[in-house]
């Protein structure tokens, strides 16, 4: 399986990774699902509608990449996938900035959708990142929400 996993400060281009996967998979691919997470102004983690000024993402070089690899391994065991790309940014991010990209290719759309959503749910709860939000209400380290945890554990039911 074609696999790209990158943790980087710089921005990414959805089109670049989409085309890379498309060229790699050739005639076998019937479905490509992509997801991009972006920094919102009203972040749910800021509680009662605090405005997010900026977000600082931190990681543990080496261990973070392994944690993403394990998530992709598990997705690959669950669904027949042709290619997976995960790009996760770190460093200082502002509202409207792209944070994370997941692209999954499969012969079938149900596998592509399920694997992309699974990878995102696990990135939220199991990948080794930390987020610090600076809003007009102060500075907080974000923790994964109960909803995030429930969505992630729903995959193991």
């Amino acid at each position: 399986m074609h696999r790209v996993i990158q943790v980087q400060q710089r921005d990414f281009e959805l089109a670049e990774h989409y085309e890379m996967i498309r060229q790699h998979c050739g005639e076998a691919v019937g479905a490509i699902a992509a997801f991009v997470g972006l920094v919102r102004d009203h972040n749910s983690h800021a509680g009662d509608g605090g405005t997010v000024g900026s977000l600082a993402l931190e990681h543990y070089p080496g261990m973070t990449e392994s944690s993403i690899c394990q998530i992709v391994d598990e997705a690959e065991q669950r669904w027949p996938l042709l290619a997976v790309t995960v790009i996760h940014r770190v460093g200082e991010l502002q509202p409207t900035d792209q944070i994370v990209l997941v692209v999954v290719a499969s012969a079938h759309r149900s596998a592509a959708f399920a694997a992309a959503e699974f990878i995102m749910d696990y990135l939220k709860t199991r990948a080794i990142f930390w987020k610090k939000e600076t809003s007009d209400q102060g500075v907080t380290w974000v923790e994964s929400t109960l909803g995030d945890q429930q969505r992630a554990s729903a995959w193991s039911d």
């Binding site: 543990y60 261990m63 996760h88 990948a127 080794i128 990142f129 930390w130 610090k132 380290w141 994964s144």
Partner: protein, 85 residues
């Protein structure tokens, strides 16, 4: 001497991104940390949800009660609860 890394909120609580300590078991690591760190920093490290990684692998058991030994070349890290995506 082993290197102990602190990430995110734990780094801020401790005031350093790493310390070097003399400890060859987890019980000795705990007493070395208790000696070295402020009450606030200890509270942060000993909180529920904090996990210890040895050589970038999570320790399966609770680091606060585990008696494992630690190789002097090990990379030890304290990780607060994670969230990506």
């Amino acid at each position: 001497m082993i290197t102990v890394k602190f990430f995110a909120s734990l780094r801020e609580a401790v005031g350093h991104d790493h310390v070097t300590l003399d400890a060859d078991t987890l019980p000795r690591l705990r007493s070395a940390l208790a000696e070295r760190l402020s009450k606030e920093a200890q509270q942060a490290l000993w909180a529920d949800g904090v996990r210890l990684a040895i050589n970038q692998q999570f320790l399966a058991s609770d680091w606060r009660t585990c008696d494992d030994s630690v190789s002097p070349s090990a990379e030890i890290a304290f990780l607060p609860p994670v969230t990506g995506g």
